[in-house]
Symmetry: C2
Subunit: 273 residues, 2 copies
């Protein structure tokens, strides 16, 4: 079986306990670096491969400290505290700078957990939207490499086609999945959580420089829900709460087609002007 392009992008070679060598992927290249979702997924991947791992992903916070340039990088992950049912990780991505010094490009913390069946309830039902087959996939005139590896079918709040300053909402709802198809796992879910274009573009209908500073994803799904999702569509919803003095926040929810909330995710994003 051919290795999926996402798995190739996430390939890591262990060089020492908790240290992994990776290589940026041209297939998930964004404007000036890799799609941030793949960086988050790579860090999670390193944690999930660690021999001391306890449980499955519960939280993932990734801080984009500096640009990750094309080429090799190192992922470092360390389990700093292991309890009976939760495990706390610190992580980072480092890369050689122009002077040959290893510098931090990304910091992260991860919590993994052994989860038990308890009382449960969803307080954020999936919005009623058109089915994925009923909405057209996005076509780009000039695409970015990473966008070629996702199928995105916006229901509401697609990227503006008229940059006329006439925006009136920061809400996007879209169906999405990997292209080519790939069964959902924790790493691809972490990447999907970062798929939304900057809310400031939508709210203002104006394209300004913008980039994620920090993202936190809370995983609500276990392996059962991921298996049940397979390679079918995921509904993503994102909206901003506040735009002020160069930064805005974004809150997102991702459901599978059956309406199960897979994860909630929050980020704060830099913007200019």
């Amino acid at each position: 079986m051919k290795t999926h392009v996402f798995d190739t992008a996430l390939q890591l070679d262990q060089t020492a306990p908790g240290r992994y060598a990776g290589l940026t992927s041209a297939d998930y290249w964004n404007m000036v670096g890799p799609f941030g979702g793949t960086t988050a997924a790579t860090i999670l991947q390193a944690v999930l491969r660690h021999p001391d791992l306890l449980g499955l992903p519960l939280t993932l916070t990734v801080n984009y400290a500096g640009a990750l340039g094309q080429g090799p990088f190192e992922v470092q992950v360390q389990p700093v505290r292991t309890n009976r049912s939760t495990q706390h990780w610190t992580a980072g991505v480092l890369q050689k700078d122009a002077q040959g010094d290893m510098v931090v490009t990304t910091t992260a913390t991860v919590v993994t957990a052994v989860r038990r069946e308890t009382w449960g309830l969803s307080d954020t039902p999936m919005p009623e939207v058109a089915r994925p087959e009923q909405v057209a996939p996005v076509r780009y005139e000039q695409s970015l490499a990473w966008l070629d590896h996702y199928e995105l079918r916006p229901v509401r709040g697609a990227i503006p086609t008229q940059w006329d300053g006439g925006g009136d909402s920061s809400l996007t709802q879209l169906w999405m999945r990997d292209h080519p198809l790939r069964p959902l796992d924790f790493c691809s879910l972490a990447a999907l959580a970062d798929i939304f274009f900057p809310r400031v573009w939508l709210r203002r209908a104006k394209r300004v420089p913008a980039g994620t500073v920090s993202i936190t994803t809370y995983v609500h799904s276990g392996e059962k829900e991921l298996r049940a999702t397979g390679s079918s569509y995921v509904l993503g919803q994102a909206r901003a709460q506040e735009f002020r003095n160069g930064f805005f926040d974004q809150s997102a929810q991702l459901w599978n087609e059956a309406g199960s909330l897979l994860c909630t995710s929050h980020q704060i994003v830099y913007f200019k002007e």
Copy 2:
């Protein structure tokens, strides 16, 4: 002027660059450890006191890895990457365990930023609620020490008085401020963001063991908004999105009385049964 009890709780003595000695405060004691909000505030305080600090708080993620026991602890903060207008910090709290070994009780990441005036807009207006003077402050028959140091006036979703399993919403709205009065600053704001009792208690009207695992706060306010808030009330709103297999999430917003969104905050919380 008498030092405020909150400032006493946050007192740190620098022992080396980026290393500070602290002492847990009986005044902000919760059931089995300090109120998590004071731990978050203490970490932020250590960052703000660091001589290499650039800018003001933008994000604060705190992971509660293990119980912080009564007594001395150490806060470690490190600026791992300084850019032109943002600075990325890793942080941790350590404490001696029963064997005398220093163990990690808390991990954290912080981003500070120099903020510039830009276009801005609030997409989450403050809900219309009764004024603080119109709603009664909470009175506890058996209180916890930390609750004595906050004035809380619930508008909606107060802690249940009947634990009868009859809950129907996870939404709380309440006015709050320090007691005794203290002008709001970044540290006390970080603490206020963690003030809400567990959403699972409200949603189920059932008291089960619960505790924050990880909290992330995005600061939207600068010093101007904090000064304008002073020691007046802050409106906090919190609700859960998903309760599943031992964990639920909570999203919160905090506005000042003038309706300015001071911060948004998210957490994931462990619960039993």
